[in-house]
């Protein structure tokens, strides 16, 4: 079902773009842009909800109830719910869009791996899954025209992990993986919501995420097909641009100490 609903359609869209532009690296970038555009409303909602939650947590009213009911969890939960309702905040508002985006990103990752097909066995599912009617739209999308996919993009083979060989060096330099690590770090830093208290749980978690995510994606890019690294880089850059377009980029996070948001006055939800 996952394959039928997500991976196969994604693979066919990716192949269709490839048929039109004739370059698999460019196809990955264009499809990444397409995915980001489609999921933009969800992302915008997530950013908005996240900002509202941050604002709430920095408010005096929130701090007061935390202190007042610190020994009565049930009452604290009731009071928190009351404030959420008063301010019109959905406490899961920033989680749900992420949860919806996550399968899309995983599906996209799988479709790239499938389309690249570095071995005959991987190609079985690719050949099996190509929609026969695609060739009615353009002959360039027929099985004959699509297979084999030219996986060469700039200096890399998108089906293999990337290394730049420098004469005299016994090992290759993983340039793309380094760029993935850097762009992920920059994106995480730029899009991190500053916390009122650097010692609170969210701030600590954000700090850890800003280290963990770049390392994780660096590791993937080091070991997996470089087509994925192209996707990670494109995704990171577009992500930064999306945040910038929404006015949510915190340049101070990158170059200086994070600026804590001012405590906001309580806003009534209009009831």
């Amino acid at each position: 079902m996952w394959d039928f609903l997500i991976v196969n359609p994604f693979t066919n869209i990716l192949l269709f773009i490839y048929a039109l532009v004739g370059n698999f690296g460019v196809s990955i970038i264009l499809f990444t842009i397409l995915i980001r555009i489609v999921t933009h409303p969800l992302m915008a909602k997530q950013i908005k909800s996240g900002a509202a939650m941050q604002e709430l947590m920095a408010s005096e009213e929130w701090k007061k109830i935390q202190e007042k009911y610190k020994n009565d969890k049930e009452k604290l939960a009731q009071e928190q719910m009351r404030i959420y309702q008063e301010r019109g905040i959905n406490p899961f508002g920033s989680c749900l869009p992420t949860l919806i985006q996550f399968p899309i990103l995983i599906g996209f990752y799988q479709s790239i791996v499938r389309a690249i097909s570095a071995t005959p066995m991987q190609m079985i599912e690719l050949v099996r899954g190509i929609y026969p009617w695609l060739e009615n739209i353009t002959a360039k999308a027929s099985l004959s025209a699509l297979i084999p996919i030219n996986s060469q993009f700039l200096w890399m083979d998108l089906g293999q992990p990337e290394r730049v060989i420098i004469p005299g060096l016994a090992f290759g330099i993983p340039v793309l993986a380094i760029i993935v690590g850097l762009t992920t770090y920059i994106q995480t830093k730029l899009t991190m919501t500053p916390s009122a208290n650097p010692n609170d749980q969210t701030a600590i978690m954000n700090q850890q995420m800003s280290i963990m995510m770049p390392l994780m994606l660096f590791y993937f890019s080091l070991n997996f097909a470089s087509g994925l690294a192209v996707y990670f880089i494109a995704s990171n850059i577009i992500g930064i641009l999306q945040y910038a377009a929404l006015g949510k980029v915190n340049w101070s996070n990158l170059f200086g100490a994070p600026k804590a948001p001012a405590a906001a006055p309580v806003k009534k939800s209009g009831k």
């Binding site: 079985i124 099996r128 084999p148 089906g159 850890q208 997996f224």
Partner: protein, 368 residues
């Protein structure tokens, strides 16, 4: 604080597992089988296993007083993985290329102790088996070149044949080499010089190596076209379109061709007149047929993606079958002396041997 760290660690592990399990790693393919009659060489992931054909046990070697299973490499090496059937050279040497994404060498190794005799550093994974003709090894590589080496590893020539990796092994009639490529081409080459004598565009991807008999090459394409092509000049004798795509090398006996197809999730198994391409009979299968069949005097054996080993008589009547539920079989069955050896994937056994009546003779699981 502790919770956060644990949460992040768990998230990291989950994401790693999710991403690495969701898509197969770049160099994962079906196992390769070869034999010299005494030993079966099974190229399966991290090792080439050297298994005694008689009883299916791994050969052992005594190294500095320690008895170790004889496999190549003796110890796990992350830069090596093997899927191609090995080529057997004189003096107990076998030749196989690594399909790892991090190590791209073609190795000649000594079967008696798994030591490396020579190695050639390539730039991409090796997925097709090499061919030995006289004193020359012809090795199709992941960089699209066909390389020719002497038996000491000296390079005689190289020829760029494809922009894509070469996935099929060359075949020979003793005078010429024939090699098919994923980018639709069939080549005839001079083994001495590597010069292309003729080439033919078959307009679709070719994964299975051609079968060669009496001056005619038989091969199929991913579009389901089965071709008979004159080996002398590359002219098409006949072409027949079958249902599904053709992935394996056709089998041939007594003027009849046998070939299976991948038809969606299912498969079809065909018997055709070798002279004309007319279908004599066909049989529907639940699972796709990726591997080429094994044709014997009195029966034809094929394997399916649903883990079935199926024997038919030469008129298509079922003889015997075995099923590996939840396992897949993509490797062509191999005749070893009087046994039929298959290599299922995902099974507790890496190999199973049957007699000609389908009775299991032995199973092989590598020693830990």
């Amino acid at each position: 604080m502790k919770f956060n760290r644990m949460f992040l660690f768990a998230l990291f592990i989950l994401l790693t597992l999710a991403l690495s399990a969701c898509g197969a790693p770049p160099a994962t393919n079906w196992p390769g089988l070869s034999t010299d009659g005494n030993l079966i060489y099974l190229s399966a992931n991290s090792h080439v296993y050297l298994v005694q054909a008689q009883n299916g046990t791994e050969t052992t070697v005594n190294l500095s007083g320690k008895v170790t299973p004889l496999r190549f490499p003796l110890e796990f090496d992350g830069r090596m993985s093997f899927y191609a059937p090995v080529a057997l050279a004189p003096q107990g040497v076998f030749i196989v290329g690594s399909a790892s994404s991090t190590g791209h060498a073609l190795y000649a190794a000594q079967a008696s102790n798994a030591s490396i005799v020579w190695a050639f550093e390539g730039t991409k994974p090796w997925l097709a088996g090499p061919l030995l003709l006289g004193e020359t090894v012809f090795a199709p590589a992941g960089d699209g070149y066909l390389y020719a080496f002497d038996l000491n590893g000296g390079k005689r020539w190289e020829k760029k044949l494809s922009e894509h990796a070469l996935w099929t092994s060359p075949v020979t009639d003793g005078e010429h080499l024939y090699l098919a490529t994923l980018d639709h081409m069939l080549y005839c080459l001079d083994p001495q010089s590597g010069d292309i004598l003729w080439s033919k565009d078959l307009e679709n991807g070719i994964i299975g190596a051609p079968a060669l008999s009496e001056g005619v090459l038989y091969l199929g394409t991913l579009s389901g076209n089965l071709y008979a092509i004159q080996a002398a000049d590359g002219n098409v004798k006949w072409v027949k379109t079958l249902e599904g795509s053709i992935w394996g090398t056709p089998g041939l006996r007594d003027e009849t061709l046998y070939v299976g197809t991948v038809f969606g999730r299912s498969g079809k198994f065909y018997a055709l007149e070798a002279a004309t391409g007319d279908v004599k009979w066909f049989r529907d299968e639940e699972g796709s047929i990726v591997a080429g069949p094994l044709v014997l005097d009195e029966q034809v054996i094929y394997v399916t993606e649903m883990g079935r080993v199926q024997s038919l008589d030469l008129n298509g009547a079922p003889q015997w079958q075995d099923n590996f539920e939840k396992n897949k079989i993509y490797t062509p069955p191999l005749l070893v002396n009087d046994m039929i050896v298959v290599a299922p994937m995902g099974s507790q056994f890496l190999m199973v041997a049957y007699d000609r009546n389908g009775a299991k003779k032995w199973t092989f699981t590598p020693a830990q």
